[in-house]
């Protein structure tokens, strides 16, 4: 199956990694007790692990090459889920099943599980918001968490000082985050892609550091506690029901988000975003105002993050700057990249996988961030389009003069099974 040369390379590679990981994985010193722990077993694991992974990657490449030479230049295969979604009857069935599961889920599990699911749904929403910016408009935003923080602190502070409730602050938090997006976006959106990424990262860190250091304003690292939970027509719910209520609210928000993003991506604005991602110069030459279009994406993404921020503050009833580090931005980015940039189902699955998996596989949770890093690298190398590639909508063209539309043509433009 593998040639001798390949096996030799696999052995050399694993030896190289044994060397590479020698000091850090093998030796552990205690400088105060002056003792050394030699963990040679790690080297053995490393050697076997790298050897196996190397051969697996070779295998994958072989298969990919032979498939390509067999099939010639075939288009991207449409995934099972996409096919399912393109058939209206199956789509309805799928939605019904998912909907039923979502509704009855809390009644079969513990409050803890409901809480975990609510968190996962928040990441779905964050992912969908960032997806507008990164996936559709192609603007790599590494400071997305800043807008999330703006939303959360808007609610925390307004609630603390003025006693404003969740529903009153929800739009304010969103708009305030969007305003921040516009203020930042205005100067930075003319920057080239990689510079934009770094500036947004810098901005995210500035917001966090200010929150940490400006104690009079934000109460510093200790944060703000006792934030009100979402109100239910003015009634204070008992804790268990409040959690349930937050869960259903989150489900509702996610549905609204999906609806909005779905409509946007097949609209005039959505097309302009994608065109901008593909080729800025051609895009401008076709009459698209680059600045305005980017700003729309950037501030809309910020708005979403702000809304989720308010939600987050209301759910945990506590905010502090430690929740808004760069790593948080990186996690949201991993969600978008893993799912497939620009793809709604992709982002949903990405968030559920990345947030729920470490939660349920406790043994794995330690390796969570390690895995996130590896996911970003591996996705870029092996599957840059993500788990679910975004497939462009096909439009049905109706001739104007034949005024009779298809019987199914009420939802225009409609998708077409391919």
């Amino acid at each position: 199956m593998f040639s001798r040369k390949e096996l030799k390379k696999a052995i050399l590679t694993s030896l190289w990694f044994v060397f590479l990981t020698m000091p850090i994985m093998v030796i552990k010193v205690d400088a105060i007790e002056r003792t050394i722990y030699w963990r040679w077993l790690n080297s053995l694991y490393m050697a076997v692990g790298v050897f196996t992974v190397y051969l697996l990657i070779r295998l994958y490449q072989h298969r990919k090459n032979s498939r390509q030479s067999q099939a010639g230049e075939s288009g991207p295969s449409v995934g099972f889920l996409h096919r399912l979604l393109q058939n209206p009857r199956q789509r309805l069935l799928l939605f019904a099943v998912v909907g039923a599961v979502v509704v009855i889920f809390p009644h079969f599990t513990s409050t803890y599980q409901v809480n975990v699911m609510t968190t996962a749904l928040m990441y779905v929403m964050l992912g969908l918001g960032l997806n507008i910016v990164v996936g559709l408009a192609g603007l790599l935003d590494l400071g997305f968490v800043a807008f999330y923080a703006v939303g959360a602190y808007t609610y925390a502070l307004l609630n603390l000082h003025y006693g404003l409730g969740f529903w009153a602050v929800l739009p304010i938090g969103g708009l305030f985050a969007a305003l921040f997006g516009i203020i930042l976006g205005f100067p930075v959106l003319r920057l080239r892609g990689d510079y934009l990424a770094i500036v947004t990262l810098g901005f995210g860190e500035i917001i966090r550091l200010v929150l940490e250091n400006w104690g009079e304003f934000s109460k510093g690292p200790s944060g703000i506690s006792n934030i009100s939970r979402p109100g239910f027509f003015g009634i204070e719910l008992p804790l268990e029901q409040a959690i349930l209520y937050t869960y259903y609210l989150m489900v509702l928000f996610v549905i609204i988000t999906i609806f909005v993003v779905n409509r946007l991506q097949d609209s005039r604005l959505g097309r302009a975003w994608i065109a901008l991602r593909e080729d800025e110069i051609a895009c401008q030459a076709m009459g698209i105002d680059k600045h305005k279009t980017k700003l729309a994406a950037f501030s809309l993404g910020a708005f979403w993050a702000g809304i989720v921020g308010v939600m987050f503050a209301a759910k945990t009833t506590f905010v502090n700057p430690a929740s808004f580090t760069f790593l948080e931005s990186a996690i949201i980015l991993s969600i978008v990249v893993l799912g497939g940039m620009g793809s709604i189902i992709g982002v949903i699955f990405g968030a559920l996988i990345l947030i729920l998996l470490p939660e349920y596989l406790r043994a794995l949770s330690e390796y969570r961030m390690l895995a996130f890093g590896a996911i970003l690298v591996c996705m870029m190398i092996f599957r840059p389009q993500g788990l679910f590639a975004n497939i462009r909508r096909h439009y049905h063209y109706h001739k104007k003069d034949s005024s009779e539309h298809d019987s199914s043509g009420q939802d225009f433009p409609k998708s077409q099974p391919s």
Binding site: P23, K28, V29, A31, D194, Y195, L201, N213, L370, I375
Partner: protein, 300 residues
């Protein structure tokens, strides 16, 4: 006055360490146009390697000079091996991918390496042994300028000189400059571009490792997260000087080091890091080509 001189030297010390890291950013950017986000982690790994080796040797009772030399060499060897491997795994397959792909891959690599060190070592701050002794001749001015400061400055100057000579006169340096101007053309005249890129990562990582060793023995403690902040600041310095420009990286680093030192000394130390980030955002917005950089024009 003494206070001023103290701040001046601490600024220069900071600046020269930023410079050692910033050079790696600028060289890599000059050659493949990538913000090597994982560069800060290479520096962190250099510091950790030095820490482990130095502690082991000191437990076995080696003399200080031997410890410094062996730990320094180990830091350079392992950091450059990591730099080389990171490039091969995370960037080389993406050479012709859209511009943002290698950047995302670099961010992934950075997070991965941080957590790799966290999991294999510890998340606590570790006490770094004082590798640089207090020189006797520095005694009279020791309250203003520490021996470590001096050692850092001298080492940095020597390293910079070697780097300049390498780039100006060696065959590799010429190949690097050619590759950074036009990669396709460099290939056509017979330069092995892949080897030049690998060499750039090795040189940049070695410099970062030296920086890691110096700063760790200066500050006296390390943890897995030191690479992130140092990396961002060095990147800020590289951009300030004009990314891609080697003298620019040094100039930018010194300016950043000095301003940070004076700002924290005379104004407030609460916002030390905010300051660097704000500077970064402002330069990128108002003068993205930096002090000594060239503005790039896209061809249509």
């Amino acid at each position: 006055m003494d206070y001023f001189i103290e701040l001046l030297f601490s600024g220069l010390t900071r600046g020269s360490i930023y410079a050692l890291i910033a050079l790696g950013y600028t060289m890599v950017y000059g050659i493949i146009g990538l913000i090597n986000f994982a560069h800060g982690e290479i520096y962190m790994i250099g510091a950790f390697t030095a820490f482990i080796v130095a502690t082991v040797l000191s437990i076995y009772g080696f003399p200080l000079l031997a410890i410094v030399i062996i730990a320094g060499l180990a830091a350079v060897v392992w950091a450059s091996s990591y730099g080389y491997t990171v490039e091969k795994i995370a960037y080389k397959p993406l050479r012709h991918a859209p511009r943002l792909s290698p950047l995302i891959s670099a961010i992934g690599m950075s997070i991965f390496l941080q957590n790799y060190v966290l999991l294999s070592q510890t998340s606590d701050f570790l006490p770094f042994p004082a590798l640089i002794p207090d020189f006797a001749f520095m005694e009279p001015v020791a309250h203003i300028v520490g021996s470590t400061d001096l050692a850092i400055l001298v080492t940095t100057v020597v390293v910079m000189l070697i780097l300049t000579l390498l780039i100006k006169f060696s065959k590799l340096g010429k190949a690097m400059r050619a590759t950074s101007q036009d990669r396709t053309m460099a290939t056509l005249v017979g330069i092995n571009v892949n080897r030049v890129i690998s060499a750039t990562f090795i040189v940049g990582s070695s410099l970062a490792a030296i920086g890691g060793l110096l700063i760790a023995s200066h500050i006296g403690q390390i943890n897995f997260y030191i690479g992130f902040l140092a990396g961002i600041k060095a990147f800020t310095a590289a951009v300030l000087g004009g990314i891609g420009s080697i003298p620019g990286a040094v100039l930018g680093s010194l300016i950043l080091g000095l301003t940070e030192s004076f700002a924290t000394g005379y104004v407030t130390s609460d916002y030390e890091d905010v300051f660097a980030f704000t500077l970064l955002v402002l330069i990128l917005i108002f003068k993205p080509s930096g002090l000594l950089g060239k503005a790039a024009n896209q061809k249509v």
